[in-house]
Symmetry: C2
Subunit: 281 residues, 2 copies
């Protein structure tokens, strides 16, 4: 496995792979890999002949006062993990390589980005869509892999690729959780031991909501109230949002029917965590 | 030559051409072809094995009250002309094919689009960048051809392809003029005989400005004042803008030196015409 830092070199590698008729699987990440990322790489390895992982902490998707500077980074550790699951290249460009002086082009996916994390983090999805559009043009993958943990992000990317007629498939893979149920996230590294324990309330309240719906509750407001109440039993949790929406359009739901996404963002100290579940009625 | 109306079919044709190792030249237009467009097609034919012309009057780049409905259309005539210069396929999608129900992704090129036509036509370049990004993803050309008549458009496209790391070359070809100097444009068809005569003032005033600069004038304000005065001798001309800017950044110039773009937009009746010249000092 090799780490490539510049666009020209990775494009050269891609060109050669294409000439040899290889299929390309791509996993874009911000690094600090956990088992969630590794599950994407493993699937990419199964589906494609060449697997490329990108590691780029994208300043464009962080707002003012967010954790861009502190975001955890460990390229050496990431490389060791990626190599073990059969990744062929890591593309890890600098910020200057991706956004040279005078950079001024942005991709906006409207509507889908109005609510959920888009409402809490203005400009976030513009940054995500822009960097992913760039990475797709650089890597030209046959397939790109995203985790369901960032449910809104996955839908935004899917919408962008369809709307802009991009030539690849987007594969969305299930959330990978710690044994006690906490959704894996690079940001879990920020949590104090007490916050780490408190954060279990997220998955627990989602499981309870799913059970409540399975036992017949279809009133979204009632389910949401139950989740809010559950989370508020945890003094360290500060709710950013809890929302129940159509699983593909992300529009608010009154009566739960069809594929429905229950998504939430909650702060524990300085750390903002997200989690979600899709229920089918 | 064949006319293709849907994205899936043209993608199939492109895929086959790629498998055969053909290079692809692409000329995106709104149709109603004139010799300017044909010069792009001829160049595309010289440089590439397969030449694709798109004809799509893109509603997204027309503002409210602009001429989207009236924009001249003549697919049969266009096809005859395109075939004569060696075009292989015309891609002429419907609006619904390009912007299906729920379409919501847009490409913005900032800064370059603040002035000139961007200031007069809010949203225009968002529409242009978005449709061209889509067309580039559909056609995946090696080279795409644009005319210098739409100077700002050509720079916006060039900037977008560089910023988003798109895998093609942008070729910008010189303005083609009628024998009497009027820059060719599909919108010339709107002009009454009197407006058609009056419109000659555009090229004439640009030529005079270039001569003035060649003879030593470097004060942009003085050159601009001279152009404004020239145009105002023509009663049918209503000036939208006359601007003197750096030829690659489109930023205002005080002293003329290096490659400088003199660009203007002027209305004759309901018809808005643009023209420009690049001078080098």
């Amino acid at each position: 496995m090799e780490i490539i830092r510049d666009i020209a070199s990775i494009k050269q590698i891609i060109k050669k792979a294409r000439q040899e008729g290889q299929t390309i699987g791509f996993v874009p990440t911000m690094g600090y890999l956990h088992d969630g990322h590794l599950s994407l790489l493993r699937k990419a390895r199964e589906d494609n002949q060449l697997v490329i992982l990108s590691i780029f902490v994208n300043p464009l998707q962080f707002g003012l006062g967010e954790d861009y500077e502190e975001y955890p980074r460990d390229l050496t550790g990431d490389a060791a993990q990626a190599e073990k699951v059969g990744c062929h290249y890591i593309f890890a460009p600098t910020v200057k390589e991706m956004y040279p002086q005078g950079y001024s082009t942005y991709v906006d996916v409207e509507k889908l980005t109005d609510g959920l994390c888009g409402a809490s983090r203005p400009g976030h999805f513009r940054g995500v869509a822009t960097v992913v559009a760039k990475l797709f043009n650089i890597i030209t993958p046959d397939r790109a892999y995203f985790g369901q943990k960032d449910a809104q992000q996955a839908l935004v990317i899917l919408k962008m690729t369809r709307d802009l007629n991009m030539n690849l498939d987007i594969i969305i893979m299930p959330i990978i959780r710690e044994e006690d149920g906490l959704a894996m996230s690079s940001r879990n590294a920020y949590l104090s031991p007490a916050e780490r324990r408190a954060a279990l309330i997220l998955n627990q309240s989602l499981i309870k909501a799913a059970a409540q719906i399975k036992s017949g509750e279809q009133d979204a407001a009632a389910v949401r109230a139950q989740i809010l109440e559950n989370i508020s039993t945890e003094p360290l949790a500060a709710i950013d949002y809890v929302t129940i929406v159509d699983a593909s359009e992300l529009t608010d739901v009154v009566e739960i029917k069809g594929p429905t996404l229950i998504a939430l963002a909650v702060r524990f100290g300085k750390t903002r965590l997200i989690d979600n579940i899709i229920v089918e009625v």
